[in-house]
Symmetry: C2
Subunit: 345 residues, 2 copies
Amino acid sequence: MASDIQASMLEEIEKELKRQVARLDQPRIANFHEMLTYHMGWTGEGSGPLVTGKRLRPLLTLLALSSCSELNEEGNGVVNWLHAISAAASIELIHNFSLVHDDIQDNSSLRRGRQTVWAKWGAPMAINVGDALFVIANQAIGDLAEHYPSEIVVRATRILSDCCLELTKGQFLDMSYEGRTDIGIEEYWPMIAGKTSALLSACTHIGALLGYAKGEKLEAFRLFGYHLGLAFQVQDDILGIWGDELVTGKSAASDLVEGKNSLPVLFALEKNGPFANRWRQGRIAPEEVNEAAALLEKEGGREYAEKVSEAETKKALGFLEQANPQGEAGRIILEISNRLLKREQ
Amino acid sequence: MASDIQASMLEEIEKELKRQVARLDQPRIANFHEMLTYHMGWTGEGSGPLVTGKRLRPLLTLLALSSCSELNEEGNGVVNWLHAISAAASIELIHNFSLVHDDIQDNSSLRRGRQTVWAKWGAPMAINVGDALFVIANQAIGDLAEHYPSEIVVRATRILSDCCLELTKGQFLDMSYEGRTDIGIEEYWPMIAGKTSALLSACTHIGALLGYAKGEKLEAFRLFGYHLGLAFQVQDDILGIWGDELVTGKSAASDLVEGKNSLPVLFALEKNGPFANRWRQGRIAPEEVNEAAALLEKEGGREYAEKVSEAETKKALGFLEQANPQGEAGRIILEISNRLLKREQ
């Protein structure tokens, strides 16, 4: 039964995303529409379920909603999650808008093994593609008005907009830290709060709001998403250095080669030992990456990050418990959280 | 008295814009905030009233609102325009978001005689600055909820989002026409409808909505803004070729040198005479610009564009008459329209 609800949600999310993006399916702008459907993984070379991403964010939104209310005889919550499908799509579109702009900003020409939008159509077009995804996300959240009272639509839209400002702040910090070796752990948190936690927090917050959660329950859902995001990002930092290449699909320790200001590195920089000395001398070459990763582990960078990740995981699960998610949807949220936080990929 | 209302509106618009942008006035991200205040014309070299732009769009929004309702004894409409100030700011922020991204897309390093954001801080930062202006615009329109019922906030937000999709469509067409010499007049209208008319239409539409206009009156305001935008853009095309350099502040005929697909040029391309032949042979050099402009005028490009501009102006003023704007605000709208449409700059 579990996979039934999850599978229908994922199916409806994909349908709704296509319906939203089809706002650009019009004469004269067929190429524009194609740029968006290509990015979403639906068209062009290499398209298919493997490259669309996991649609984790919209799924979490709908699951939060469904887990808020008592169950009816069909085993669903009283609130029909289909009525909130445009909000779920909106969050996924925000995520994808940020990916398209990120790829330009990071000069990344590949995403999930495919050419990025800017690599294929140039940066000017890609900027506009990202903008359009953002616009459609705004239109999608507005579609909530078909099924929700205007007060709720205004609140959901506000949560989403506030989250987007956090995204731009996180993105600014990330870019401004680039190439700097004087960043401390203190600077790490506001960056990942913006880049990762804000959107996951918006998922569980908006989902619970649309499930008519109130007061402490609503706040617990919001904080669950927030700490889930922090734990997830720290975990990602660990895997980016010591992850199994076969499992993560990225070359192991690639974060060290890319000079990324990840938590283990920032820990070592504050310790100011041999790893910090090496780091400050310039980029680590692929052939010295194993040695550098071993040094970083020896200096306690891995252990520190694992402790931090565990602490955030504990907080996230504590808030989830407070949120007290119900039924099948609640069970799946817990399952997904555990998989995300102890994940090997 | 006229200038009194207009001056207070402009003063409050500027204050509200600063208040909205101050969402980024926070520790750690002072440089980010500065990028936005620089673009808005408030800080950095060359800042001051001369470079902020005329704030025409938010002014038109507030004037439309004020002109909708009967006048009270202070000579103001019954609806307090200050209650809609965040919506006016929102539209100006959308305009500025599009300018920041346009400058990257067009590779323009100067705007109003100052370095553009990307020229000063690089394209990756400038993409994020544009995104942040867009986000703050969304937050600003949401602030309407402080003074308006949620139903109206949802409707205003929807109008703004729909307008933004038109902007991205217009931008796509503009970029996709670049360097092509097979564009016809038929292709011109959807491009300028998106790039210029959509936002002016949103101003008068949202303004009237917030002035509680309904039915045909509301629709007349929307169409007034739309045709005002078309007439304005065609007028701009004429000035971009035959404008007085001293008045426009741009080098005369610069649109010909830049190869812009303006209406007079598209007319001549369809006529397929000597100008079209020359145009298709490649960019016009600054030293042959006077000759080319004279040829284009001889072939009827100027006369055609002037006729089109007059026809659109007539439509705009017809819808304005239908909208029947009241009082001092109504008088100023008419004055501004006349100035815009017969403008020499």
